[in-house]
């Protein structure tokens, strides 16, 4: 059913269609509207056989979800940023216990300095938590991905984080096509937990495992992650067949045939980039967009196939790794091992700075003009702002325009000497 609604409400409706048994809420922007809507649905009775808990922290939100999931019902919660970090211990725990919890991360920057706006530093900080991490490029994609996430989580036996850009998607009011309850029920059968606490068959979950079996346990956990790749593909296929929605998947290519440069992007920037690429095409510039949906597990083979023989690839990232470089870069490099593809990282859109069509076009042109001299380049940098500080503090001035990391390194000459 078509509706013109806020993204958050769309997610809430989608989650409700999945018949969860427990929903936990702790308010942190920008995910609040999702749980607000779910709370209302439980209260009005729209969502039956489900309890909604207002908890005192994200740590408890995750913990209650762990308990509910271990108790044998579908558990859902949502978080972002500081909240995600506050529940980190529980996040790792849920994965280790193999509990198929689904959680929305309305991606947002991490403080200090406190910043409520979108980037990907929160979600990506959980890279090694053992959760599946699925990114969404639009609200329709996010809505559909949530429904698929329950099925994937339950089949794989691991929790799934659905990552959607905070505010940009969560607060956007858009046309959304909600599948019917019948369609969802057909797609997602009633929950049958793999294991749960039941007085009829008592088990002890969460044992202490020492060196004698820890490695093996981790190998099996990794195997589950790897198994998730074909499962995501299959589940996506099933879902698309039932709904006709072209959502989910491991990745999605746009305008990639014969592209001279391919951008790898996660999240809502993909839509902006598609428009930009279309505009470039009108100018005779051939750029493609690879929308990366599955960050964990990482689809190495699919990325390699998607890039193909294209010589230039730019990863557009809304985060990076301090003291290192882009977070996706090593993964893409691994995927392309043995090929002479030029892989660059463009970092932009941190802490809510808008990524505009012009940003994307600039990156494409920068690449095709051969201006990428380093692995990582910062785009949309306001050199006035940075220089106003650096000039006084260290007598250094940075140039205007895209900032390659080598420029930053050059400013350290004095320190080296």
């Amino acid at each position: 059913m078509l509706k013109q609604i806020e993204g958050s409400l769309g997610i809430a409706e989608a989650v409700a269609l999945c018949r969860p048994g427990a929903i936990c809420a702790y308010p942190i922007s920008p995910q609040t509207h999702i749980v607000e809507n779910l709370g209302k649905m439980v209260k009005t009775g729209q969502l039956q056989d489900c309890e909604f808990l207002n908890v005192e922290s994200e740590f408890s939100a995750m913990s209650v979800s762990i308990g509910a999931s271990a108790g044998g019902v579908r558990a859902y919660t949502a978080t972002a940023s500081q909240g995600l970090l506050f529940m980190t211990e529980g996040i790792y725990n849920a994965a280790g216990l193999g509990l198929p919890i689904v959680m929305t991360v309305a991606s947002r920057a991490i403080g200090a300095p406190i910043n409520i706006w979108n980037d990907h530093s929160d979600s990506l900080s959980q890279r090694d938590s053992g959760w599946l991490q699925l990114f969404c490029e639009s609200n329709q994609d996010a809505l559909d991905t949530h429904i698929m996430a329950f099925k994937i989580a339950e089949e794989v036996g691991l929790p799934v984080m659905v990552c959607m850009d905070g505010f940009v998607l969560t607060h956007a009011f858009e046309r959304l096509d909600l599948p019917s309850q019948e369609q969802v029920d057909q797609f997602l059968p009633a929950y049958e937990p793999r294991e749960f606490l039941d007085p009829k068959e008592p088990i002890s979950m969460g044992a202490m495992v020492g060196p004698e079996a820890f490695t093996e346990l981790r190998i099996l956990q990794q195997r589950k992650m790897l198994k998730a790749i074909p499962i995501i593909e299959r589940v996506t296929k099933e879902y698309r067949e039932i709904t006709g929605h072209h959502s989910g998947g491991l990745l999605d290519c746009y305008n990639c045939e014969n592209a001279d440069v391919k951008l790898i992007i996660m999240g809502s920037t993909v839509g902006t980039a598609k428009d930009a690429v279309d505009e470039l095409k009108a100018q005779g510039i051939n750029a493609g967009v690879i929308s990366l949906k599955a960050f964990r597990p990482f689809p190495y083979d699919e990325i390699r196939a998607a890039i193909g023989d294209t010589k230039n690839v730019v990863i557009v990232e809304r985060s990076f790794s301090y003291g290192a470089r882009g977070i996706l870069h090593p993964e893409v490099s691994r995927a392309m091992r043995g090929k002479d593809t030029n892989i660059y990282t463009a970092v932009c859109g941190l802490g809510g700075r808008a990524i505009l069509g012009t940003t994307i076009k600039g990156i494409v042109k920068h690449c095709l003009d051969g201006k990428f001299c380093d692995e990582l380049t910062w785009f949309d940098v306001d050199s006035k702002v940075i220089n106003s500080y650096l000039k006084d503090a260290e007598g250094i001035t940075l140039p205007e325009g895209p900032l390659p990391e080598s420029v930053l390194l050059d400013t350290l000459q004095k320190v080296r000497a």
Partner: protein, 353 residues
């Protein structure tokens, strides 16, 4: 005639008593008790927590007809009961994290209700969350308070051994003053744990207005079992804090576990009481009053208070704390305190000023 004699040699002071009607004997006296925490666990010799856990959970099993699940905080109890590949538990049990047992318990309770409702089953399994004092009064305190405030249908049991024993005996907010721990050593001008610190979680729990709060001790099994069963008769958030001596951490003989716990009760060091909806409803009276010295001298964590070099002023201060407890909980009288007693920590702090 036999029933007319309300005198039974040891009464209910012992675990069982052949002279008592079987229904009046402790769950622990029954030869078919649940033994929810079974042999083969790796607790230290004389572990009070292992004892307290079996006492409490067995009683809860009886009260719920076996419809029971446990969420366990990280700590000794978890480590010694479930090291791969062996579990000592005989009921559904989960360990998640150190600080989240109350919240995991809340989640379990939700799941149990929802599943039962969906299945049209009126018999909803009940939930106990449990942990040590560190997991309860410190790191798990936020989730605990949240569980209380939401009145989640969870009984939280804190096995209080007054320090972080699992990590090697470090101080917690339940460590009493002057006690030695690895982080409050017997050195300096004021050896042992600082005075004027620590929190009284049972009274804090009462301030949440939850249906049931109680303290108990492994040295009074009947009282402990009664309280667990009573707690299970309520729905909503409940809290029981059980004093479980740790021979390792307290530095007492492994065989003295129950005796030390008894002296803590009988000296007024650890008041045993229960409260409903924030109001005290009963107080376990001291049977044979003991000077606190008798309690302290069995434990090396108080070695500095009992030897030749002992500072009588510090001993007097601990005795004063016990006397405060005796007074404010009326541990020797016939009354039940009308108002909520002031935490002994507060009395101690105010004495200082």
């Amino acid at each position: 005639m036999l029933d007319a004699i309300k005198f039974y040699q040891t009464g209910s002071n012992t675990v069982g008593n052949r002279l008592l009607n079987p229904s009046m004997r402790a769950v622990q006296a029954s030869s078919d008790r649940p033994n929810t925490l079974i042999s083969g666990h790796r607790a230290c010799q004389g572990c009070g927590e292992a004892l307290g856990a079996r006492y409490a959970i067995d009683a809860a099993m009886r009260a719920t007809g076996g419809q029971l699940m446990i969420a366990n905080a990280t700590g000794c109890l978890e480590v010694f009961s479930t090291p791969y590949p062996e579990s000592a538990w005989r009921l559904p049990w989960i360990h998640s994290l150190f600080g989240n047992a109350a919240a995991v318990g809340a989640g379990l309770a939700v799941a149990a209700r929802v599943r039962a409702k969906k299945a049209g089953n009126a018999n909803v399994p009940r939930v106990i969350a449990q942990g040590g004092d560190g997991g309860t009064t410190d790191i798990g305190f936020g989730p605990l308070s949240g569980m209380f405030e939401r009145n989640d249908d969870v009984l939280y049991i804190c096995y209080d051994n007054q320090a972080y024993m699992n990590t090697g005996v470090q101080r917690s907010s339940a460590t009493p003053p002057a006690a030695r721990t690895a982080t409050t050593q017997l050195v300096g001008a004021e050896p042992g744990n600082d005075w004027g610190k620590g929190k009284n979680v049972p009274l804090i729990a009462m301030a949440h207005g939850i249906p049931y709060v109680a303290t108990a001790s492994v040295a009074d099994l009947k009282d402990l079992e009664y309280k667990v069963e009573k707690a299970m008769s309520f729905h909503g958030a409940r809290y029981i804090q059980i004093l479980v001596p740790c021979p390792l951490g307290w530095g007492c003989a492994s065989g003295s576990t129950v005796t030390v716990a008894r002296l803590a009760m009988e000296s007024g060091f650890y008041p045993i009481f229960e409260a409903e909806y924030g109001k005290i409803t009963s107080v376990r009276k001291i049977r044979q009053k003991q000077p606190v010295l008798n309690f302290l001298k069995l434990q090396r964590r108080y070695a500095h208070l009992t030897g030749k070099k002992a500072d009588p002023k510090v001993l007097a201060r601990i005795q004063a704390m016990c006397d405060d407890n005796i007074k404010s909980f009326d541990l020797l009288g016939d009354e039940i305190p009308e108002t909520v007693p002031v935490a002994v920590q507060a009395l101690e702090r105010s004495h200082q000023i």
